[in-house]
Symmetry: C2
Subunit: 200 residues, 2 copies
């Protein structure tokens, strides 16, 4: 879609609103009334311009024959991240196993993706192997929060504690060791914080 002028944006926005309100596209005359045009041709040429730029489609000879051209819409739902390959960003398309029909707003703050839990290291926090952890993508974490961290290409879910340049990643399971990281010596990236959990 080509770039729209301000006026054209305004008109496209109004068309969207009209369709949401009425359930049908507007007529040229309705557009005139709304925008203050005194000539139906003003509406017509705006629509033609919007069509030329790919924002809408016009069906000729048909009343209200205006079709919104869908933007490449984000698939509604949350992407489920499977195995994360070394050296690649966690949200890379290649890692997306599927989209789960769960509203991101179900969680506070909103979830950006789901990550499948491997291992029992967070068992005592009620996080079991195979669970899907909802993650809010952020680079900063508070002490005590459960985070998704990447330590030298390995992605792990642990409780986060930081004192200066020393970070401790605590499992919630006495059978697993605490991971100590000196930020100067090893690369540690916070990929997000846990905001929820789904067991299906």
């Amino acid at each position: 879609m080509q770039e729209l002028t301000l006026r054209q944006q305004e008109i496209l926005l109004w068309i969207r609103q009209y369709m949401a309100d009425h359930g049908i596209p507007p007529t040229r005359l309705a557009l005139c009334a709304a925008m203050g045009f005194r000539s139906p041709n003003a509406a017509e040429s705006h629509l033609r311009a919007l069509e030329r730029k790919g924002a809408i489609e016009l069906v000729q000879g048909v009343s209200r024959g205006i079709r919104l051209v869908e933007e490449p819409k984000e698939t509604s739902g949350l992407p489920l991240i499977g195995k994360v390959a070394a050296g690649q960003p966690i949200l890379a398309l290649a890692h997306i196993e599927s989209y789960e029909p769960i509203a991101p707003e179900l969680f506070r703050p909103v979830a950006h993706y789901l990550l499948r839990v491997q291992g029992e290291s967070m068992r005592n926090a009620g996080i079991l192997e195979g669970d899907l952890v909802a993650v809010h993508h952020t680079l900063i974490a508070q002490n005590g929060q459960i985070v998704v961290a990447r330590l030298e290409d390995e992605v792990t879910i642990k409780r986060f504690y930081r004192r200066g340049e020393r970070v401790e990643l605590h499992p919630d399971n006495p059978d697993y060791p605490v991971i100590e990281v000196n930020l100067k010596k090893r690369a540690l990236h916070i990929e997000g914080v846990m905001v929820g959990l789904i067991r299906a």
Copy 2:
């Protein structure tokens, strides 16, 4: 919405399809062409009938002024059950705290409702206080399954074991006691089996 005749259902279905295909409601003439009517009045009176029965709304004087009346849709979420009052069925309207935007099909078998967990009796199964347990409504449970059971007006989530007329409800937490029930002496109802869990 009143009950529709077969023909009316057929027409309503066609209107839905037309709107999905074209993005706009049909005209009377389009309906005629599709259904084989030779008179536009046939279309008109069908539309009037559909309006009378509450299936659609007609906006008079407006071309394509047909609006679908949305069914009170249940497909778009799961009811969250809060506190369950004594003596009332668990799925009573009065117990529904809210609808959560989660697809029932996310779980296998499908979830019918969510129940908020109280207490820590299932801690070792990764079920914590405040979690939402997704429940499939059924009256039969297998040994070892986690069930929602009603024992003399109290609703509880436990692991189910049955031997003849003796039922044991096991917590997954050594700090809680096993509940033993003799079906002849006390009323026990299975309200459903756990099929998933959500922590928001």
